[in-house]
């Protein structure tokens, strides 16, 4: 039997954050993870995170993972890998399958941060090789460096489906379509738009009915669904794909909490069967905490804050910090967490389909929800999207209230303002002068900011856009400009390509297009 004051189960963002917080306050902490590599799903996340600076916004997930790990190790947290916690027993004893043995550990506090498992849909042939989960696609391409397939159908338009679709494109795969049985795109509009503008079609109200092929996927049959999610006969379409990727949500992996005796509740808004936790992430069992996805599906940024709250509370309850210190830190983390839980996609709004306008009273784009991109007419309603400005200026195609504000810090000249409620839409300050530096483009995790200059030269405008693909075009290259739907609309010439360390792998392409396309050209294809 080994003893540590705090036993943390799961070395993902929630678990590591809880461990760091407790260790900072002087506690002896051990973290257990069943995987060979710590970090949970963070190392698969190669996109820039949302939120504010304090939430690691505009940092890429895998870099956040590296930082958390280093911090935990520097603080003396013991990390046991390939260590599967099999059960939680009386008096905070846990059983760990480690090195081919059953090992016993005992603690004063247990933090369950086991994360989530992927939901699946069953359809004819879904057990064939070539049907994979979205997490599998990420593991293959982002960890192992192997393409999951050549042509992929993405099933699910939530953030995972959208983010992974984009990552598949970055890995050089083709995405044949993104489909969803729901009538509306489920994830952030900006994530959908960056996929749509490369030419990937979105089919809402569609489901996959069959995976074709003998021993592996050689095609997919999709069909439109009725209001009861049943396929409508006669609407079938066959797509030429070799991989079907499923991203239909996550379920909390809460079996250990159930096993420990924590009070459980089935809450669809939290993703399924979850332990009931209070505002300090304590379960009904004294000294057992649950944080992160296991307590309800949310983003990694929220998981980290929940972990900190749990770590701080454990430190207080065990006498490592006094009440004032505890209350102050929890207040700070909670305020930060509340910021993330604002906007259209906040946990309390999960499943809502009745929202028709933004907090600012601007009608939400229907096209965005149905096809993944905003139409010109809809965009005209958003003040930050105006192209009727002389000289170079930002166009911010951010049309939903999501908690994110790196753009306002990125502009050193004060052109962009979001304010203290980070879910507000960014506005452009007409008094400030844009220098065309492009920092806002690179800072936008949603890749929704463009710099447009309609006075570039007679009859021509430039559009600067974020670009995270290979091969990287060079100045002087000629190709086509694509509109928001991915349709080629005009010829384009690359006038400059900017890459720098502070932009963190987001390159800025500036392309020259006929001036009448300044408001529509949003992507470049060689």
């Amino acid at each position: 039997m080994k003893r540590h004051e705090v036993l943390v189960i799961g070395a993902g963002p929630a678990g590591l954050s809880a461990a760091i917080e407790a260790a900072k306050n002087g506690m002896d902490v051990a973290v257990f993870d069943e995987n060979a590599r710590p970090g949970g799903q963070l190392f698969k996340q190669i996109h820039k995170f949302f939120g504010s600076k304090e939430h690691h916004a505009k940092e890429r997930g895998f870099n956040i993972g590296k930082d958390l790990l280093k911090e935990a190790r520097d603080l003396g947290v013991k990390v046991y890998l390939d260590a599967t916690v099999m059960g939680i027993y009386y008096d905070k004893e846990i059983l760990v399958n480690h090195n081919g043995e059953v090992d016993h550990f005992k603690g004063d506090t247990i933090v369950i941060a086991t994360g989530a498992a992927e939901n699946m849909v069953s359809f004819k042939g879904w057990d064939k090789p070539g049907v994979i989960g979205a997490g599998a696609a990420q593991a293959l391409m982002n960890l192992q460096g192997v393409q999951p397939g050549e042509k992929i159908l993405m099933v699910g338009s939530g953030n995972v489906g959208l983010v992974v679709s984009f990552q598949l494109l970055q890995a050089g795969c083709q995405v044949a379509a993104v489909i969803d049985a729901a009538p509306r795109v489920g994830g952030y509009g900006v994530h959908a738009s960056k996929v749509a503008r490369t030419g990937v079609p979105f089919y809402m109200k569609h489901t996959v009915v069959e995976a074709l092929g003998e021993d592996k996927v050689e095609g997919a049959v999709i069909a439109e669904v009725d209001d009861h999610f049943q396929p409508i006969p006669g609407t079938e379409k066959t797509l030429d794909v070799d991989t079907i990727c499923i991203a239909v949500g996550l379920s909390p992996m809460s079996q250990l909490a159930d096993n420990a005796g924590c009070e459980m509740k089935f809450l669809p808004k939290k993703g399924g069967n979850v332990p009931v936790v209070n505002e300090y992430n304590e379960t009904s069992m004294d000294g057992i905490f649950c944080c992160g996805d296991v307590a309800g599906i949310e983003e990694a940024s929220s998981a980290m804050l929940q972990g900190k709250i749990a770590g701080s509370t454990a430190s207080y309850k065990n006498g490592y910090i006094d009440e004032d210190e505890w209350q102050q830190s929890v207040e700070k983390y909670r305020a930060s967490l509340e910021q993330l839980r604002t906007g259209m996609f906040a946990p309390q709004n999960k499943g809502r389909t009745d929202m028709t306008e933004t907090d600012e009273g601007i009608p939400l784009s229907k096209s965005l929800l149905a096809k993944g991109y905003v139409t010109d007419e809809e965009l005209a309603e958003f003040p930050a999207c105006s192209t009727k400005v002389s000289g170079v200026h930002p166009v911010i195609e951010c049309t939903q209230n999501i908690p994110c504000d790196p753009c306002q810090d990125a502009c050193k000249f004060g052109c962009i303002k979001v304010g203290s409620n980070i879910s507000k839409l960014p506005v452009i300050n007409p008094e400030a002068t844009c220098t065309g530096c492009g920092m806002c483009i690179a800072s936008c995790s949603g890749q929704a900011i463009f710099l447009v200059n309609e006075d570039y030269e007679d009859g021509f405008a430039t559009v600067a856009l974020p670009y995270e693909f290979l091969p990287l075009p060079q100045a002087g290259d000629k190709g086509k400009a694509l509109d928001r739907s991915g349709k080629p609309v005009c010829d384009a010439e690359i006038v400059s390509v900017k890459s720098s360390k502070v932009m963190d792998m987001t390159n800025i392409l500036t392309m020259k297009v006929p001036v009448e396309y300044a408001g529509t050209a949003r992507f470049y294809r060689a």
Partner: protein, 111 residues
């Protein structure tokens, strides 16, 4: 939890076209088998699990539980909380018996 009224089915079991679709991948349990289990009187997720082994395979229901639940709930016209969850119990992950044999029992040795 809603009280479940158990009455013997009077109608014959109605097959559906997708009854041969696999739902539990590990134990290769089909949708038809799950529907038949419900028809035969199983009315909770745990009962169906014990009857058919869906959720008792190597993945321990991580993949299929929600899909099994949706079939049971549709057949019975009940909500998910009414048919319950698979009980979470140790070991929550499959473990080879050799590992159990290698239990580190230092704490009990003095006794």
């Amino acid at each position: 939890m809603t009280k479940i009224v158990r009455t013997a089915a009077t109608e014959p079991f109605k097959p559906m076209p997708d009854d041969d679709m696999i739902v539990c991948r590990c134990e290769e349990i089909t949708k038809g088998e799950i529907r038949k289990a419900v028809y035969d009187g199983m009315s909770t997720t745990n009962e169906v699990k014990r009857w058919l082994r869906c959720g008792m395979g190597l993945c321990q229901g991580q993949t299929c539980q929600k899909n099994v639940q949706s079939i049971i709930s549709r057949e019975l016209g009940l909500k998910i909380p009414d048919i319950g969850q698979i009980t979470g119990r140790s070991p929550v992950r499959p473990v080879v018996m050799e590992v159990f044999a290698n239990d580190v029992l230092d704490v009990h040795e003095e006794a």
